[in-house]
């Protein structure tokens, strides 16, 4: 590059960077500081998984009901440890009343939780358990049990016999390990169900689609397919449709799209720990703690396997759903 160009670059680069900052700032959620209302900082893992979107809508609904402000912290890079860590630091400088925290990684985010603890900001740990730090409460679902229940449901529908394949999630993620553990547990209980292949779809629809296309080539008789999340289950269904093949498919998470697929008869079932309920309860728990009301140290949410007989409960746009009463979930 010539020196002439070298001189131009910083100024023009700066203009570009400023433009980016303005753009990003426009997308930023409103800052809740500057008034006396309680502020809850909600940390979710990414912008793309519909599960967290449901959870955020629910948290906002709870915040409105309880008359508190909610500030969202979402990494722009999906599940970024580095970004969530710096968002924790940002949040602490703004001093929210409490934090509702879903760690992007159970172990790597322990120092982040400790920063909250050091700053004296109470934290409710939601959805995925952090392996360290002090919490008001852990609220989540037992991924292992959800996966096992949903797999058992599939195997019963197959009359306890036939060939299945598993589409795994992201290797190394603790979510995936628990879900695989649940699938394997259910497989042990049904000795006549034969596992033909277990391959990773990285929790992504496009990868699951491609992997299923490949597995359909290798195995001429597949009766059931277990996908470790709903996005992948829907990719599996696209692959089956394109190849004119039939198999019973299950997913996990109970997303809106999966419920629609259940309604259309394409997806057998999706196991769920209701993201909406989690968003409600996390926010309510944090506010209860601030108002000196009791909050249990641990809440494990009930499991639902949504199929063609019971999907109606989840078939409501989340904007119209209401948070349940705290007492209807927590019985003391």
């Amino acid at each position: 590059m010539t020196s002439h160009e070298g001189k131009q670059f910083p100024l023009r680069g700066l203009v570009l960077i400023l433009a980016v900052i303005v753009l990003v700032a426009c997308g930023e959620v409103k800052d809740g500081s500057g008034n006396k209302r309680e502020t809850i900082a909600l940390f979710t893992k990414n912008q793309v998984n519909p599960y967290f979107q449901t959870l955020r809508v629910a948290a906002q609904a709870a915040a409105n009901e309880l008359n508190v402000d909610l500030v969202n912290y979402i990494p722009t890079e999906n599940d970024s440890i580095r970004e969530q860590m710096s968002q924790i630091e940002d949040a602490i400088t703004k001093r929210p009343s409490a934090a509702v925290f879903i760690p992007v990684d159970s172990k790597a985010m322990i120092p982040g939780v400790e920063k909250f603890n050091a700053a004296g900001i109470p934290v409710v740990n939601l959805t995925d358990r952090a392996d360290g730090g002090e919490f008001v409460s852990f609220m989540g679902c037992d991924d292992y049990a959800v996966a096992a229940d949903t797999a058992r449901y599939l195997f019963k529908k197959m009359n306890g016999k036939g060939n299945v394949i598993i589409i795994e999630g992201q290797g190394g993620s603790s979510n995936n390990q628990k879900r695989m553990g649940g699938f394997k547990k259910a497989l042990e209980e049904f000795p006549d169900i034969k596992l033909l292949a277990s391959q990773t779809g990285n929790f992504q629809r496009s990868v699951a689609l491609q992997v299923t296309e490949n597995l359909l080539q290798a195995h001429s008789q597949i009766d059931g397919i277990l996908a470790a999340n709903d996005s992948m289950a829907l990719g599996v269904i696209e692959a089956l449709d394109a190849a004119n093949r039939k198999a019973l498919v299950i997913g996990l998470n109970g997303t809106k799209e999966a419920i629609d697929a259940v309604k259309a008869g394409k997806l057998l079932a999706t196991g769920d720990c209701d993201g909406f309920l989690q968003g409600c309860m996390g926010t309510m728990g944090a506010v209860r703690h601030l108002r000196n009301l009791p909050v249990p140290k641990e809440i494990i949410f009930p499991i639902t396997v949504f199929d063609s007989t019971n999907y109606q409960g989840a078939d409501v746009p989340y904007e119209q759903r209401m948070c349940p009463k705290w007492e209807s979930i927590v019985k003391e």
Partner: protein
């Protein structure tokens, strides 16, 4: 080129010997269908890299184009509008990339990396974590349909390959790209309008990303903000495995086709053989490195003999 074809054949023969399901017409068509998606997203990028540029925004651009196309179809019901929306989005992003590189004189890496994040930002804001899904069968045929037994995206790939081949080999513009990639100053002094050529290249890359986005949407039958994220690295890998140099001035679309097929074969083979998921990233890495190594050894060999 010859050596890369031999490498591809070796991988094919090894897979055919180890899995009965591999060398069947239906699986080979399956591989071509999967490879065509990588090829489409990498085709414009190949020409940019030949011109010594780089476009890191192809994945993000593909994702945004797919989401806009999805929204257009959902709100109007017109499939053609979806195609127009996707192509327009991709093309505009390409023009902006070209302007940043030529008029603002930003290094291509920085310009298109910045663009990548801006596109993610726009897409996250636009989609708000939602998914747009459920498209008519006529539209889905573009991604998952067959015509005379051959997958539709494979036809698109063939058209792209043919058009690109004629363009690079028989047009002045095509020759100029290689001249710009080999030595931009020399190209400028010899009277090639470098800026306008580069803008056109980035525009082409953007348009192809937009087209790939629409095909991808048709194949997945759904769009979400993260749809393009996993596609950037395979696109770049396909170009480089195909022998196009990151320094510009050499390579071409036929190589990228081979690169796309190699990448597809790796996953196809691992799935057919049932290789444990935990080992798959390692196997993928080793095969990509081997492909690059064979290429560099054979190239040195050829240079010594020449």
């Amino acid at each position: 080129m010859k050596y890369r074809l031999i490498g591809l054949l070796l991988i094919g023969i090894a897979l055919a010997l180890s899995s009965d399901a591999f060398a069947t017409p239906s699986n080979l068509l399956n591989v071509l269908r999967q490879a065509s998606l990588i090829f489409l997203s990498a085709s414009g990028l190949t020409l940019v890299i030949v011109g010594a540029g780089l476009d890191l925004s192809v994945g993000a651009n593909l994702g945004l184009s797919a989401c806009f196309a999805a929204a257009a179809i959902k709100s109007t019901g017109a499939l053609s509008l979806g195609l127009v929306a996707g192509l327009a989005c991709g093309t505009i992003v390409g023009v902006l990339n070209g302007l940043m590189v030529t008029k603002l004189r930003l290094p291509p890496f920085i310009a298109t990396y910045g663009m990548l994040w801006m596109l993610y930002g726009v897409n996250y804001w636009y989609m708000k974590g939602d998914t747009i899904y459920g498209f008519p069968a006529e539209f889905r045929a573009l991604g998952s349909g067959d015509l005379l037994g051959i997958p539709v995206p494979v036809y698109l790939m063939m058209v792209g390959l043919l058009a690109g081949g004629i363009f690079t080999r028989y047009t002045t513009f095509g020759h100029e790209i290689y001249a710009i990639g080999a030595n931009v100053e020399a190209a400028r002094l010899s009277g090639i309008p470098v800026s306008s050529r580069l803008i056109l290249l980035y525009t082409l890359s953007g348009a192809m990303a937009g087209l790939a986005g629409v095909v991808y949407l048709a194949r997945l039958n759904s769009a979400e903000a993260g749809i393009g994220t996993p596609l950037l690295l395979p696109a770049i890998a396909a170009v480089l495995i195909g022998g196009t140099s990151l320094f510009g001035g050499s390579g071409g679309l036929a190589g990228t086709l081979i690169g796309a097929i190699v990448l597809t074969l790796v996953l196809n083979g691992m799935n057919l053989l049932g290789i444990n998921s935990n080992w798959q990233p390692l196997v993928t890495g080793v095969i990509i490195l081997l492909a690059a190594l064979i290429d560099s050894i054979t190239r040195k060999h050829a240079e010594i003999r020449a």
